[in-house]
Amino acid sequence: MAELAIELTGVNKYFGEVHANKNISFAVAKGSIHGIIGENGAGKSTLMSILYGYYQADSGSIRLNGQEVRIRNSHDAIARGIGMVHQHFMLVDTFTVLENIVLGAEQGVALKQSLLAARDHLATLNRDYGLQVDPDAIVGELGVGEQQRVEILKALYRGADVLILDEPTAVLTPQEADDLFRILRLLKAQGKTVLLITHKLREVLDITDAVTVMRAGEIVGNVVTADVGKEDLADLMVGRKVNLQLDKTPAKPGKTVLQVSSLSLTDARGVKLLDDVSFELRAGEIVGIAGVSGNGQSELLEILSGMREASAGSVCYNGTELTTLPTREPKAAAYRRLGIAHVPEDRSREGLVKDFSTFENAILGYHDQPAIQHGLLFNRKAIIERCRRFISEFDVRPANAFRRSGLFSGGNQQKVILAREIDSDPQLMLIGQPTRGVDIGAIEFIHKRLMALRNAGKALLLVSVELDEILALSDRIIVMNAGRVSGELPVAQATATELGLLMGGHK
């Protein structure tokens, strides 16, 4: 057995009634990349927070390099060579890279000396690990991938031997993720130990040496990555057989529901966000829009859902011209009344109000329906009943209509939105990033519901940055690049490589 960097024995953590970590024991070999996977709420983050000193374990022991330690706070963790790259970066946007790296690890009263020393050290680290970060760049102006590298540098600067990464690829493009993995392999080659928390199975299989699988606060498997496959891990994580393959019957496209012609959008600075976009969408089919995020897909959804005005072009929905629709109410409401439902890309900003109870979010956007009015007031009973129906039909957990929406996991929030939109019996469904930040069990469920909707003869427009999702659900795929449609092809002819080229605008 190789030397151990971390060894946990019988670690327990309670939050009030909740037993967040149950008797956790596992070991991580020095100089390895160790994956920790599990669905949202499985206790991964709590466990890592214990390692990083944010929380204290209620019982159990932690050994670092064979020595038993108590980690009382993040300061302690840093001193013992543990570094953490948070999912939401802990960087000060207005500071330079150098200032961010020095922050909290300065020597002396004046900054100058620390900054000079850090600049030298940084140059060495940049070279050793191929990080290529400009020390004088303002962090807020860097891309997400670069910001993440700053976080890694920060940890290395503080002398980290163990690096914990919390869902590092959630915010990255596939290329940036590849780049990160290259860096992680370099770190490993230099003898660093990497703990990778994720719920993406492909990543785990790609890069880790060993995996710990967690479910409901417990460890359900400690395996060597080379010995397992995607399905095994998924089953372990969810605790039952998961069907990653979707049953897809051939589509039976009906009449044209949506006809988009020469749609363009120019912003205040004169940048063309959408440029001559045309396509059609029929009843009973799913059209997927693929593309690296920021290539006009979001704007397209915003226009089609009535949140934004197009600069030119037409949108014809069931014979009605939408761009010039004469209406006194906001367009989004008018479109909804016509049977266009919308599951927005940014769930927590546009899909629901986090501080509302679930039953309030269950009627958001449909709050003027006569069925839930009671004179001048709401018919609270009817609303709650409706919400309870959503909860049981869509298996929302915990099944509590009064709980604040922000307290639910991403997947359960998404289920509520989906239930609300599907319940309005739409003819056209616009869906943005249906499974972003959603765990595997819920993804399977959401995909099935979307497929059922399509089989019921509805028209679905799906925008997603996950190629796997586009390939699994769509009947036809439209690829967007720099605001233009760079290609359209039936799913049968689509391969990841082909789509990748179109997404990059290379064809």
């Binding site: 927070s49 970066f89 802990m90 000060v92 946007d93 207005t94 909290g104 300065e106 900054l111 920060k154």
Partner: protein, 315 residues
């Protein structure tokens, strides 16, 4: 020319407490705490300075008392907004009201002069510094405008230099700005955010203390009810006008002080065609200017990102 120099002289005298208060606010706000309490800190300091200077017949004792009073009010603001994560706006306004009400009551109880404190003797005030070539200075308006001030004015100049060094070039400054921009990042870097914010409050209180003491010990010679007359808010406006940067905030203070000096000169004077203007209108000029400048003439002010948000560790 003489009138120009007398306006300059007045500008510097009026600007000094504004500058001190604005820099006080800078510490507080850069650490992430909205500081409407500048007014109250100054007023409490003015009162304490007047009482102690009168009883001990020493301006330095008065200054120390003023700073102590400023720090006390600042710590109250800190306990509410840092210790208990209270609403910083409400805490600030409440403290202002409390000090505004409490000071005349105490003054009345202790001195029986209708809410004032007794007028200080010369020995208990800061006088203009008597330099060896005093006669030359008294004769020359330009020299008098620049060099004929009391020690607190020069102290304020020193404070400006020190503050801009501390904020931008020191370890504490880096941590201060981090606490105001992204306290969670500071926390993750192993910094005690609440401690940094408390320290910022203490500094803010001390600087406001000097500003308040100045009003009594260098200007009026006695505490008068609500004598700060909105200077704390004016200083805050200058801070925002200066986008939370020391030198820019100071120039904002100088601008406000300059309009104030002009305003004093304009009072009672006849304008061509219009005739005499009621003093109340003229006195309103600096405040109107504040509104106009803040609303119209400056770009969008980008406040420290975490300002006004209590720091609660969450993960």
């Amino acid at each position: 020319m003489d009138s120009f120099f007398s306006v300059l002289d007045a500008t510097i005298r009026v600007a000094t407490p504004l500058v001190l208060a604005a820099l006080a606010g800078l510490f507080s706000e850069r650490s992430g705490i909205v500081d409407l309490a500048l007014e109250g800190k100054m007023l409490a300091a003015a009162f304490a300075a007047a009482c102690v200077a009168y009883m001990m017949q020493s301006p330095w004792a008065g200054l120390a008392a003023g700073m102590a009073a400023g720090v006390m009010v600042a710590l109250l603001h800190g306990i509410v907004s840092i210790g208990y994560n209270g609403n910083q706006l409400i805490s600030g306004v409440a403290l202002n009201m409390m000090v505004s009400g409490l000071t005349p009551v105490l003054a009345l109880a202790w001195f029986q002069q209708g809410g004032r404190t007794p007028t200080l003797d010369d020995a208990a005030r800061f006088r203009s510094i008597e330099l060896p070539f005093a006669d030359t200075i008294a004769a020359s308006a330009p020299l008098k405008a620049l060099f004929g001030h009391n020690i607190l004015v020069y102290l304020a100049v020193l404070v400006i230099v020190v503050v801009s060094w501390v904020v931008y070039k020191s370890r504490f400054g880096l941590r201060l700005r981090a606490a105001g921009e992204n306290p969670h990042a500071a926390d993750a870097a192993g910094i005690n955010v609440k401690l940094v914010r408390y320290l910022a409050q203490v500094i803010s209180g001390a600087l406001c203390g000097v500003a308040g003491a100045y009003l009594v010990l260098a200007q009026t010679g006695a505490f008068i009810q609500d004598m700060t007359a909105g200077k704390g808010y004016l200083a805050l406006a200058a801070l925002i006008f200066g986008k939370w940067r020391p030198w820019a905030a100071v120039s904002g203070c100088l601008l406000f002080a300059f309009t104030d000096a002009i305003q004093i000169r304009l009072q009672g004077s006849e304008l061509p065609l219009i005739g005499s203007i009621p003093d109340a209108f003229i006195q309103a000029i600096p405040y109107v200017l504040t509104v106009v400048l803040l609303a119209g003439f400056m770009g969008r002010a980008v406040a420290p990102k975490a300002i006004g948000v209590p720091f609660v560790k969450s993960r």
